[in-house]
C-alpha cells in the first residue's frame, strides 16, 4: 500500500531512505507538492514528504546568510527577510499561476532543488549561485553535508551546485544555508513601446551594454502585453520592452533618466513605479500571462540572447504560439498548441546552443516526451554515473529528470 512518510528529523529521513533502499522501493520527494507536475511523472510507490523539516534555523542579516529546513515555506522566509529589508536576490518564481493552484505555497527546498530563478537572474545570479551549503540524506542512505555558511569557500567539491537543479534525484535535502542580500531602496522600470523582434532584442542589449546596472529586462509581444494587469502595459496597444533599475534613490533616478534617453530611439518611453513595477515583474517571473488557455503546453527555453528573436520566429512558424522574453532575451517562455512536439521546439532552438524544458503539459505527454533537454553520448553517461554515485539503487525520484536517471 502506498505510504507517505513525513519525517520530522534528519534521522527519520535517514530511516525512511534506508528502508526504501533495502526494499528497492523508490520514493517521491515532495515539500508541499507545488512542483509535482514539473518533470517527468513519477512511478514511485511511496512518498517522502519533507514539509515537516521546516523552520528558519539561522538568520544573521549582517552576515547576509539564512539557514532553514527544506520544508520551510518560501513565504515565511520572505517575511523574515522583508523585516530586515533583505531579499532572495535570485527572485524564485511561483508555479501557482501556471499550474492553476494558489500562490505562495512553495518551500525553500523545492526552490533550490529546481534551481528556480526569476528576472533578476541576469544580474544577481541563479538559485545555484546562492546555496552555500546543505545537509542531506543521499540515495545510498548516508547523511552527507557539503559547503558551509560562508560565501568564500573552495573546500572540496562544490556539491551545492549539483543538488541545485537535480530535482531531488541525488539526495533528500535536510537543511539548506544560503546567501541573501539587502533589498533595493528604490525600483523603477523603464518601458519602451512598439519595438518588436530583432529590434526589441537590440533594445535590451543596449540597456545591458550600458553601465546602468540593469537588474532585469524583458520583452512582451503585443498579444502578451495586452494581458498584463498593469494598465500602462496592457493599454500600450503593442509590444512592450521593460528595463528594471534598482538601488539607492538618487542612483535609480539618474540611471532611469539615462536609460530613457538611450532607449528613446527604439520607441515611446514610459516609466513604472512602485506597485505597478512590482506587479509587472511578478507577471514576468511567474509567466502568469501565459497561464490561459490551460491546454497550452508551456516551454521554457534558455538560449543566447542574440539568437532569441530568430528562435521565437521559428517557433511561430511551426504553429500556434504565444511567447515572451526575459533575461535580456535569453529566456523564452512559450505557450504552444498541444500539437507541438518536443522535437519541433528543440529544432527551433537550433544549432547555436541552449536548452528547452517542458514546464507544463498533461502527464501522458510528459511521460512520453523528453521534459528536460536530452543528453546523449559521453555527457549523458557522465550524468548517469553522477546519479549513480549518489543514488545507485535509484530510490530518489527515479526518472523525474531522465529515463534511467
Amino acid at each position: 500500500m502506498a505510504t507517505t512518510f513525513k519525517p520530522e528529523t534528519e534521522a527519520q529521513v535517514l530511516d525512511a531512505v534506508r528502508w526504501a533502499v533495502s526494499e528497492a522501493s523508490p520514493l517521491e520527494l515532495v515539500g508541499t507538492g507545488t512542483k509535482r507536475a514539473l518533470g517527468r511523472p513519477m512511478q514511485a510507490e511511496n512518498t517522502l514528504d519533507l514539509s515537516a523539516l521546516a523552520g528558519i534555523s539561522l538568520y544573521e542579516p549582517e552576515e547576509l546568510i539564512l539557514g532553514a529546513g527544506p520544508g520551510t515555506p518560501l513565504a515565511e522566509i520572505e517575511v523574515a527577510l522583508a523585516a530586515e529589508n533583505q531579499m532572495l536576490p535570485f527572485e524564485p518564481m511561483d508555479f501557482g499561476p501556471l499550474f492553476g493552484h494558489a500562490v505562495g505555497l512553495g518551500t525553500i527546498g523545492g526552490v533550490f532543488s529546481c534551481n528556480l530563478s526569476g528576472p533578476r537572474r541576469i544580474k544577481a545570479g541563479a538559485a545555484r549561485d546562492h546555496l552555500l551549503g546543505f545537509r542531506s540524506v543521499t540515495g545510498r542512505g548516508d547523511v552527507v553535508k557539503s559547503g558551509g555558511r560562508v560565501v568564500k569557500n573552495v573546500t572540496g567539491y562544490d556539491l551545492s551546485k549539483l543538488v541545485c537543479g537535480a530535482h531531488g534525484t541525488l539526495a533528500a535535502l535536510t537543511e539548506v544555508t544560503f546567501k541573501v542580500l539587502p533589498a533595493p531602496e528604490k525600483t523603477r522600470t523603464v518601458l519602451v513601446f512598439g519595438a518588436t523582434g530583432e529590434t526589441a532584442i537590440e533594445a535590451m542589449s543596449a540597456a545591458m551594454n550600458s553601465p546602468h546596472e540593469v537588474a532585469s529586462t524583458a520583452h512582451l509581444p503585443a498579444e502578451v502585453a495586452a494581458r498584463s494587469a498593469v494598465g500602462y502595459v496592457s493599454g500600450a496597444g503593442g509590444a512592450v520592452t521593460a528595463v528594471r533599475v534598482e538601488g539607492v534613490g538618487p542612483s535609480v533616478e539618474h540611471r532611469c533618466s539615462a536609460l530613457r534617453d538611450a532607449l528613446a530611439k527604439f520607441g515611446a518611453i514610459e516609466e513604472l513605479h512602485g506597485h505597478n513595477s512590482a506587479t509587472f515583474w511578478r507577471e514576468v517571473r511567474d509567466a502568469s500571462l501565459l497561464a490561459e488557455p490551460r491546454d497550452r503546453h508551456i516551454w521554457r527555453l534558455s538560449v543566447a540572447p542574440s539568437e532569441s528573436w530568430r528562435i521565437a520566429e521559428r517557433l511561430h512558424a511551426a504553429g500556434e504560439v504565444m511567447h515572451f522574453h526575459d533575461w535580456a532575451g535569453g529566456l523564452i517562455w512559450a505557450a504552444v498548441a498541444p500539437t507541438f512536439t518536443a522535437e519541433t521546439v528543440r529544432a527551433a532552438v537550433g544549432p547555436n546552443g541552449g536548452h528547452a524544458t517542458l514546464v507544463r503539459a498533461p502527464a501522458d505527454i510528459r511521460a512520453a516526451a523528453q521534459v528536460f533537454e536530452p543528453q546523449s553520448g559521453p555527457l549523458g553517461s557522465l550524468s548517469a554515473r553522477v546519479k549513480a554515485s549518489f543514488d545507485p539503487e535509484r530510490v530518489l525520484n527515479p526518472g523525474r529528470m531522465y529515463p534511467g536517471v
Binding site: F5, A126, K145, G148, K152, T155, L159, P250, V386, S389
Partner: protein, 494 residues
Amino acid sequence: MRMPEPDRDVMAQRAAIIENLRAIAPNGVIAEDDEMRVYESDGLSAYRTLPMVVVLPETTAQVAAILKYCGEAGIKVVPRGAGTSLSGGALPLADGVLLGLGKFNRVLDIDYDNRTVTAQPGVTNLAITHAVQDQGFYYAPDPSSQIACSIGGNIAENSGGVHSLKYGLTTNNVLGIEFVTIDGEVIRIGGKHLDAEGYDLLGLLTGSEGLLGVITEVTVRILQKPSTARAVLVGFEKSEQAGTCVAAVIGAGIIPGGMEMMDNPAINAAEDFINCGYPRDAGALLIVELDGPQVEVDYLIERVREIAEANGATSLRVSQNEAERDAFWAGRKAAFPAVGRISPDYYCMDGTIPRAKLPEILSRMSEWSEEYGLKVANVFHAGDGNLHPLILYDANKPGELEKTEEFGSRILLACVELGGVLTGEHGVGVEKRDLMGAMFNEEDLNQQQRVKCAFDPDGLLNPGKVFPELHRCAELGRMHIHKGQMPFPDIPRF
C-alpha cells in the same frame, strides 16, 4: 606531506611513454631534467617534485589523445595552467605526466551582443579584460595574480578577487566550458545561454582542482565597467572597530565593490615598501570602494563616512581622483611583496570565517604568534570574511618551516571551529589536504570521492591532491544496506 608512492612499473616505461606522447604532440614534449625544472613547483614553492615528463599540447584533439593514452595505460596526469596555485594543486608527480595548457593562449570569440568571451584555458585572467576594455567591458573576478594566472586555472580553483564581494567568484561568472575526461571524451557544457541543462556539471567542475577533467575552452560573461569608482581609506585604533564597521556598512544595505582590511603589521610593511600614505599608528585600516554612477558613489561615500565615524574611525580619507584611488589600493596590492621584503620568507594562509568572528580569530593569532615566536601580518577580504594571514619565517632556520606550517594549520582549524572553512579561494591542493577531516567526516569525503569516481574511476587525474585518503572506487561504490534488512521506519506516516 606524503604523496602517493610513485609507481615503479610506470617509471620503468618512461622512455616508451615519452615516445608515445611525442607521437601525439610532436612539438610539445619536454623530458630533459633542466628544462622540466621550471615546472617542479607552483606558487607553493616549499613543495617540489620533478615530473616524469612534461607535455604541452596545442589542440583539444591532442589533449584528448594524451588523456586517452594515459587513461588506458594507467599513467597519472597533473594539469597545469600558469602554475600560480598557492596550495600545491599543480605540484607534479614523479610518476606522472605534467599536462601544461600554456599553448592554449588564444581568445577565440568576443561577443558583445551576448556579453561573453570565449577563450582557451591558458589565456591569462587579465588578458580577457584587455581584450574587451576598449568597449568599456571587463571580466569581474580579479585575483591579485591576474597578470599571470590562467582562466583555466581560475576555473579549476574557483578563484576570487577584491571585487568578488559585489560581482561574485569565478563560478558566478562562467557560462560554459569544454573539457576532456580521462578516457579522452570531449564534453561541452553550457555556452552563451544561462544555466547549463541537466545536472550542474559546470558548477561541479569549477573549483575541482584538476581532479575531474582537463578544461580546454572557457566561456565567461563580461560586464560593462562602472562609470565611477571612489575609495575611502579609514583608520581605526582597534581591529574590532574595523570589524564592527564592516558589519554596519553591510547592515545598512550597502554592498561595496570591494572592502579590504589590513592590520598594523601589514599597514607598516606596505608603508615601508611604497610609502602610500597609510596611517602607521592605526591598529587596522579599511579600504572601502564604491562603484557605479557618480551620484550613487557620492551618496554612498557619505553614508560610509557616517558609519565609519560612528564606529570610532581615527582617520578618514576619500579619494578625490583616480590617482588617489590607485594610491589607496597600491599598498593593499603590494602587501605580499611588502611583507616579502621584511622577512626572508612568508607563508600565505587562506581561511574564511563568519565576519563577526574577526576579533576572536585575530586575538588567537596574536597569542599563537607569541607562542611560536613568528610574526603575522593580516590582509583580509573583510567584506566576505576571507582571511589572508601572512606568517613571517626564515626557511633557512632549521625547523622554522615546520613550525610555520603548524601555526598555519592551527589558524585554519580555528577558522573551521568558528563556523568558517579551511580555504576561501586558494584551494585545498596538497597544502590543506590532511586538514579536510576537520570540516568533513568520512561519509562527506566518501561522497565527494564517489563523484570523482564518476569522472575518473582509476584516480589518475591529479591524485594526492584534495583528499587525505584515497579509496578504491569499487570499495566506495559498495552498498552497505542489503535487501530486506532495514525495518519499516517508525516515523510519522499517512
